[in-house]
Symmetry: C2
Subunit: 217 residues, 2 copies
């Protein structure tokens, strides 16, 4: 959790004198982040719906009025946290796509990269919760659809690149394969959220072996 004292961020120079806020934009952003961290910690432990606003408020060490100054509703907090949880995974995959050229190379390191994130255990638990939230929150679903589309498109491009290089068979459906590769990541997140002792390295090696055709020689 962030430790943001009320006076931690002093005001800079002001441009508008009449209607300026009393604190800087950085202070507001930091406090917002502080509330999100507190909420994430509770949500990861107890779930979105078994955590009351009072729990979040207590965890943040604030008052209801303060929290509701930064977020219009509990749902707004849930959406913000869900997007972050899902987005952090997307960034890891995109990063891996930049670093590795072949599909087996790609999948072998992904699980460890995900578990290497800050607060990875919390993040994965939040992601699993968020998946369910997406099913019934239209706003969240729309925003997540965008991230998902980018991810699938990037994976598909990689498969098609492999095809041009001759590593990937001509007749495979690049789009469907992208879904399968995504599933390998999603399944890992789910299983690891359930069992934090699941080895990311062993899973990564197994995924590489599967993709490398070691199951069908």
């Amino acid at each position: 959790m962030l430790a943001v004292g009320r006076c931690a961020v002093k005001s800079e120079h002001s441009l508008y004198y009449g209607a300026m806020p009393r604190v800087t934009a950085e202070y507001l952003a930091a406090r917002r982040g502080h509330i999100l961290s507190a909420a994430a910690a509770r949500f990861a432990r107890d779930g979105f719906h078994r955590t009351s606003m009072q729990d979040v408020i207590d965890e943040a060490g604030l008052s209801p009025g303060a929290v509701y100054r930064y977020f219009r509703s509990k749902d707004e907090i849930i959406i913000a946290i869900s997007l972050e949880a899902i987005g952090s995974v997307e960034r890891v995959v995109q990063e891996a796509l930049r670093e590795h050229r072949s599909v087996p190379d790609l999948v072998v390191g992904l699980p460890a990269a995900i578990t290497g994130l800050d607060d990875a255990d919390d993040r994965m638990r939040l992601a699993v919760q968020a998946w369910g939230e997406v099913l019934r929150n239209r706003d969240l679903a729309d925003r997540m659809a965008g991230e998902l589309a980018r991810l699938e498109s990037a994976l598909r491009d990689r498969v098609e690149m492999g095809r041009r290089d001759g590593d990937v068979a001509e007749e495979v459906d690049a789009d469907a394969v992208a879904h399968v590769l995504l599933a390998v990541v999603q399944g890992f997140i789910l299983q690891r959220a359930w069992n934090p002792h699941l080895s990311a390295e062993a899973y990564g090696r197994a995924a590489r072996d599967v993709v490398a055709g070691q199951l069908a020689r």
Copy 2:
């Protein structure tokens, strides 16, 4: 939804006269199932926590007293439905394991077998919700761990069988590969819950191609 009239199941012969229930065990089981179907329909649409008991009661066409005769609490209904949603997938995989011998043959038909279940769309939405529920319901987690262990063990056995047949490389970690294969199924369920237009057949073929090493030649 099941349509169980109040008098649909007549009493059979009674053995104990003094303290016998007024209706048969079949009637009780049918009514219990009816309530579960009603709850599942609502839960699939609105989620466990956005569905009130009154919603379930209305959907079942009963009264609070009637529903609470069959279930001690809302949580008990959630657990029953979660176990069924997760269990139905397990049965499909076990069935597929019985029918197909090679790993590629196994994965190609699994997605279509899952979408072929009764009320498949609802079942998958419920499964995704249940995954999140498992994270914070100890009782549910314990019971699901059992199912999961059986499934992983069956998949691992299949991989080891492949190894004896020479299809699978000696050095692969059968246990970790089982997790990856499970992920391919879980990821499909998630993606299909999000997008019911996802083609089970295309996904199955892509999964087969991936497992058959078509991405790394």
